[in-house]
C-alpha cells in the first residue's frame, strides 16, 4: 500500500493506482476530456492537472501514486491553468456542448484568441477506442504540431473500419453539439439546454472517412432541423 495525501486527506492506496483514481476514490471530482476508464490513459488534454508538493503540475490520469506524495487537486494554480486550457479548447471547438459546460463550470467567460471551429480537440479517444476496444486500428494521427489531425491511413477509405461508430460514440466534442442561440464563437455562459439538441443521426458530425469520400453508412432520413423545431422556442422561453 502507498500512503499519500490528497487535499490534506491521508489515504492508503494500492501501487499502480493513478492520482485520478485516487481522487475519485475520495469523491473528489477532477475534470477530464481525453480520459475514459475503458481505454489506456493518454494525458493529452491536461485538464486533469493537479499540483504536487514540489510545485509541479502533472496530469492525474497518468501519474501513479507514490509514497508521501502531497497532491492538491484544486489549488489556485491548478484552477488558473485549467481555465486557460478550457479557453484554448473553446477557441478551437466552440460548438461543443461538453466544452461549453466545462467553461461554465470554471467561470471561463470569454475567449481571447481568434476562434476557428475545428470540431476536434485531438484528444485521441477515438483513436484509442478504434485500436484498443474495436481492435481495428482504422484511424490514427497524422502530422505533428499544429498540423496534427486524425484520419485513416493515406486519407483513403479504410479496409479495416467496420463502421461500428465507436469513434463517434466516444468523441467528447461531436456527440453533443451546442446549439445555443448565439453564434458559436461566443461563450454561451452556462448551458441551460433543456434537452439534447443533437439529432440522432451522424449527419454533419465529424466523419473521419470524410477526406476519402462518404462511406454511406450514415446516410439516413434527413433529420428534422432542430432550429425550426419547437426546441428553439422552448430554449428561448428559458
Amino acid at each position: 500500500m502507498t500512503r499519500l495525501s490528497i487535499n490534506g486527506i491521508e489515504v492508503d492506496l494500492e501501487q499502480g493506482t493513478t492520482l485520478l483514481e485516487a481522487a475519485q476514490h475520495l469523491g473528489i471530482e477532477i475534470p477530464t476530456l481525453c480520459f475514459h476508464p475503458g481505454l489506456s490513459a493518454y494525458g493529452a488534454c491536461r485538464l486533469c492537472v493537479v499540483e504536487l508538493g514540489d510545485g509541479r503540475l502533472v496530469s492525474a490520469c497518468t501519474y501513479p501514486v507514490q509514497e508521501g506524495l502531497r497532491v492538491r487537486t484544486h489549488s489556485p494554480r491548478v484552477l488558473r491553468a485549467r481555465r486557460m486550457l478550457i479557453e484554448l479548447l473553446l477557441s478551437i471547438c466552440p460548438s461543443s456542448k461538453r466544452i461549453q459546460d466545462l467553461a461554465a463550470e470554471h467561470q471561463v467567460e470569454r475567449v481571447r484568441f481568434s476562434v476557428r471551429d475545428e470540431r476536434c480537440i485531438l484528444c485521441g479517444l477515438c483513436v484509442r477506442m478504434c485500436a484498443e476496444q474495436m481492435m481495428a486500428h482504422a484511424i490514427g494521427f497524422v502530422n505533428r504540431g499544429y498540423r496534427r489531425r486524425i484520419t485513416t491511413p493515406f486519407d483513403l477509405t479504410s479496409d479495416v473500419c467496420r463502421r461500428c461508430g465507436g469513434c463517434l460514440y466516444i468523441c467528447p466534442v461531436c456527440e453533443l453539439r451546442c446549439q445555443g442561440p448565439e453564434a458559436p464563437s461566443v461563450v454561451c455562459g452556462s448551458c441551460v439546454t433543456p434537452a439534447p439538441t443533437c439529432p440522432p443521426v451522424y449527419g454533419d458530425l465529424a466523419c473521419y472517412m470524410g477526406a476519402a469520400g462518404e462511406c454511406g453508412t450514415c446516410v439516413r432520413e434527413p433529420p428534422p432541423d432542430p432550429r425550426s423545431s419547437d426546441l428553439r422556442r422552448r430554449r428561448e422561453s428559458v
Binding site: 501519474y63 488558473r80 505533428r144 496534427r148
Partner: protein
C-alpha cells in the same frame, strides 16, 4: 585482430605511435562545414599533387573531424610543422606542397590574422579562438582520422575500457562517475552516475544503453561534430556504461539528416567489432555487448527520452508521462540509460584520468567542459569547448571575437529554441547549469546564437515559436495549441496589430504552457517568450504602444527613406531594387516610393554611404 588483454592493447598503441610520429601529415578538415566549403576537393588535390611530386609515400594525407573554426574553412593543419592554414582552396594546395611541405616555408596569407594587431598566427594555439578553449572531448577532433580505429588506439583509445573491464567492478565504475560529478550534457543536467546507479539497481532481465544523437536545435552541431570526428570516444563510453549497468545491447539514435555521422559510426562500429571491443567476452571478461544504429527521421521531439524510446521501438516519437522513468521502464519495458553524445564521450576520459581530475574542472556543481556551437552575429563562428564556469562574455567576446563592426552584440540565445535570450547586461554570468536556469535560460545541448543590435527580440521569439509549433508533436493541448497561439500573438505584435491585453494574454499563456505541458519540449517552449519579456519588455511595448520596431526589423512597422544629405546620387540602389521603387538622377538625392517599396532592405545593404535609413 582481436585485442584480448590490456597489455596487448598498450603494445599495439606503442607500435602504432612509433610508426606514426615521424611521418609528416596533412590533416584536412572533413567536418560538414569544411566539406561544404570544398575541403573534399582540397584533399583530392593534395593526393594527386603528392603523387606527382613523388611525396605520396612519405607524407600522410587524411580527413579529420571538425577543427571548430568553421567560419574560416576549409582548414588544413600540417604536422610536424604545426602550421594551421585556413580558407584553403584547391588552388592553394600546390603552394602548400612546394613551399611548406617541401621547404618548410610558411605561407603567410593562409594563416589566421589577429584583427587588432594584424599579427599572423602560425599555430592553432596562437589563435584567440583556440587559446581560451579547453578542448577535452574535442581533443582529437582535427587530429585523428575518424574512419581508422588504429589512430584512436594510437592515442590511448580503448585503454579506459580495458582498465574498467579488467581492473574495476561495475560498482566501482559507477562510483567513479558519481565522484567525477559528470552531469548530462543533453540539457537538463541530471547526474550521470546517479542515473547509472538507478538503472543498475532496477530489476530487469535485460538492460539497454542508448546514445541520444537526436540533435535538432537550429544552429547546433556539437553532437554531430563529435560523432563525425571521434566516434570511438562515444562508443568506448557506451561500452563502459553498459558494463556498469549490466546492459548487453546498446543503441545509437542518430538523425538521418546526419549522413556523414551515420557513415562514420557504421565504419567505427565495424572496426570496433574487428578488434573485439564489441561482441562476445570483451577483453576476455564475461562481459558481452554490441551496439546498433537506429536512424531517426528527424523530429525535434525525438530528443525527449520517452519519445526517443517510442521511436526506437518503431512507434511515432511522442513522449509519455514520467514516471516511470526510462531507468526503470525504457526500451521494450526494460531498464534503459539514455545519455547524450557528449556525456558518453566524457566517460573514457574520466576513467582514464580519474574522477578527481575531472571534478577539479568547472564550478562547484557543474564539472568538466561543455561544447557549444557558436553561431550568429560573431566574428568566429564554430565549435568551441570551454570549462564550465567561464562567463558568457569570455565566450562571446574573446573566443567568438564579438560582433563584426560596426554592429554591437545585444543578446545571446542559449540552450536552443527552448532556452532563453539573455541580454548583454547578464554576460558576466558563469556558464553552469544553475546560473543559466536561474536566469530563465538553460544549458541545453549547447546551441548558442549571438544576436546584434539589428535583431528584434519580438521577432526572435516569434521565430522560435514558429519552429516549436511545427516541432511540437501535437499530443498535448498546451504545447500544440499554446505554441500556435503564442505564435499568433507574437505575429500580431510584430505586425503592429496587438494591444496591451494581448501582451498580458501572451504572458499568462506562456506560464500555463510551461506548467502544464506533458514533456520537456512544451515545458521549455515558452522560454524564448518569457525571457524576452523579462529582459526586453520595452521592445514589446514599443511595438504595441508606439507601433515601432526599435531594431528596425518588423516590416509592418518600418519604412526605408533616403537621407538627402548623405545621398551622393550614385544610382547604386536603383538597379537592384526589385520594385523599381527608387527614383533619382545621377548626383541628385534619390527618393524611395513608399507605395512601391516592399521593404526588402536591398538598398540598405548596397548603399556605401549609409544614406538609406530605417525609420
Amino acid at each position: 585482430m582481436k585485442i584480448r588483454t590490456l597489455e596487448q592493447l598498450r603494445a599495439l598503441a606503442e607500435e602504432l605511435r612509433a610508426a606514426r610520429d615521424h611521418r609528416p601529415c596533412v590533416r584536412v578538415c572533413g567536418g560538414t562545414g569544411c566539406r561544404a566549403r570544398g575541403s573534399e576537393e582540397v584533399l583530392a588535390r593534395f593526393k594527386t599533387l603528392l603523387q606527382e611530386t613523388g611525396l605520396a609515400e612519405a607524407v600522410d594525407v587524411k580527413f579529420t573531424g571538425c577543427h571548430g573554426l568553421c567560419e574560416r574553412g576549409p582548414l588544413v593543419s600540417l604536422a610536424p610543422q604545426e602550421v594551421f592554414y585556413q580558407g584553403v582552396e584547391a588552388d592553394d594546395v600546390r603552394a602548400i606542397v612546394t613551399e611548406t611541405l617541401a621547404r618548410g616555408t610558411v605561407i603567410e596569407r593562409l594563416l589566421a590574422q589577429d584583427p587588432v594587431t594584424g599579427k599572423h598566427a602560425r599555430r592553432e594555439q596562437e589563435i584567440p579562438f583556440y587559446r581560451r578553449q579547453h578542448r577535452l572531448v574535442l581533443r582529437f577532433n582535427g587530429i585523428l582520422d575518424p574512419t581508422d580505429i588504429r589512430e584512436y588506439i594510437a592515442v590511448g583509445g580503448y585503454q579506459a575500457l580495458g582498465t574498467a573491464l579488467t581492473h574495476l567492478t561495475p560498482e566501482e565504475v559507477i562510483e567513479i562517475i558519481e565522484r567525477s560529478g559528470l552531469r548530462g550534457r543533453g540539457g537538463a543536467g541530471f547526474p550521470t552516475g546517479k542515473k547509472w546507479r538507478m538503472a543498475r539497481a532496477a530489476p530487469g532481465s535485460r538492460k539497454y544503453v542508448i546514445c541520444n544523437g537526436d540533435e535538432g536545435d537550429p544552429g547546433a552541431f556539437m553532437d554531430r561534430s563529435v560523432l563525425e570526428g571521434n566516434p570511438h570516444s562515444v562508443i568506448e563510453g557506451m561500452i563502459i556504461g553498459a558494463y556498469a549497468i549490466g546492459a548487453a545491447q546498446g543503441i545509437i539514435y542518430v538523425r538521418e539528416e546526419y549522413p556523414l555521422a551515420v557513415r562514420t559510426l557504421e565504419i567505427a562500429l565495424a572496426q570496433a567489432r574487428d578488434y573485439g571491443f564489441l561482441g562476445e567476452e570483451i577483453f576476455d571478461s564475461a562481459f558481452s555487448f554490441d551496439i546498433e544504429i537506429v536512424r531517426g527521421a528527424g523530429a525535434f521531439v525525438a530528443g525527449e527520452e520517452t519519445a526517443l524510446i517510442a521511436a526506437v521501438e518503431g512507434r511515432v516519437s511522442e513522449p509519455r508521462q514520467r514516471p516511470p522513468y526510462p531507468v526503470h521502464r525504457g526500451v521494450w519495458g526494460y531498464p534503459t540509460v539514455i545519455n547524450n553524445v557528449e556525456t558518453w564521450a566524457n566517460v573514457p576520459l574520466i576513467i582514464e584520468r580519474g574522477p578527481e581530475w575531472f571534478a577539479s574542472l568547472g564550478t562547484a556543481t557543474s564539472k568538466g567542459t561543455k561544447i557549444f556551437s557558436l553561431v550568429g552575429k560573431v566574428m568566429n563562428t564554430g565549435l568551441v569547448e570551454i570549462p564550465m564556469g567561464m562567463t558568457l562574455r569570455e565566450l562571446i567576446e574573446e573566443i567568438g571575437g564579438g560582433a563584426p563592426p560596426p554592429r554591437e552584440i545585444k543578446a545571446v540565445q542559449i540552450g536552443g529554441p527552448s532556452g532563453g535570450c539573455l541580454p548583454k547586461a547578464l554576460f558576466d554570468l558563469p556558464i553552469d547549469y544553475e546560473s543559466l536556469t536561474e536566469a530563465g535560460a538553460m544549458m541545453g545541448s549547447g546551441g548558442l546564437i549571438v544576436m546584434d543590435d539589428r535583431t528584434c527580440m519580438v521577432d526572435v521569439a516569434r521565430y522560435f515559436m514558429d519552429f516549436l509549433r511545427d516541432e511540437s508533436c501535437g499530443k498535448c493541448l498546451p504545447c500544440r495549441e499554446g505554441t500556435n497561439r503564442m505564435y499568433e500573438l507574437l505575429t500580431a505584435i510584430c505586425e503592429g496589430r496587438a494591444t496591451e491585453s494581448d501582451l498580458e494574454l501572451l504572458e499568462e499563456l506562456a506560464h500555463v504552457v510551461k506548467e502544464t505541458s506533458l514533456c520537456g519540449l512544451g515545458q521549455t517552449a515558452p522560454n524564448p517568450v518569457l525571457t524576452t519579456l523579462r529582459y526586453f519588455r520595452p521592445e514589446y511595448e514599443a511595438h504595441i504602444r508606439e507601433r515601432r520596431c526599435p531594431a528596425g526589423v518588423c516590416k509592418a512597422l518600418i519604412r526605408y527613406v533616403i537621407n538627402a544629405e548623405r545621398c551622393t546620387g550614385c544610382l547604386a540602389c536603383l538597379q537592384p531594387c526589385p520594385q523599381q521603387a527608387i527614383s533619382g538622377q545621377l548626383k541628385q538625392p534619390h527618393v524611395i516610393s513608399e507605395e512601391r517599396c516592399i521593404k526588402c532592405g536591398i538598398c540598405y545593404e548596397v548603399c556605401q554611404f549609409g544614406a538609406v535609413e530605417i525609420v
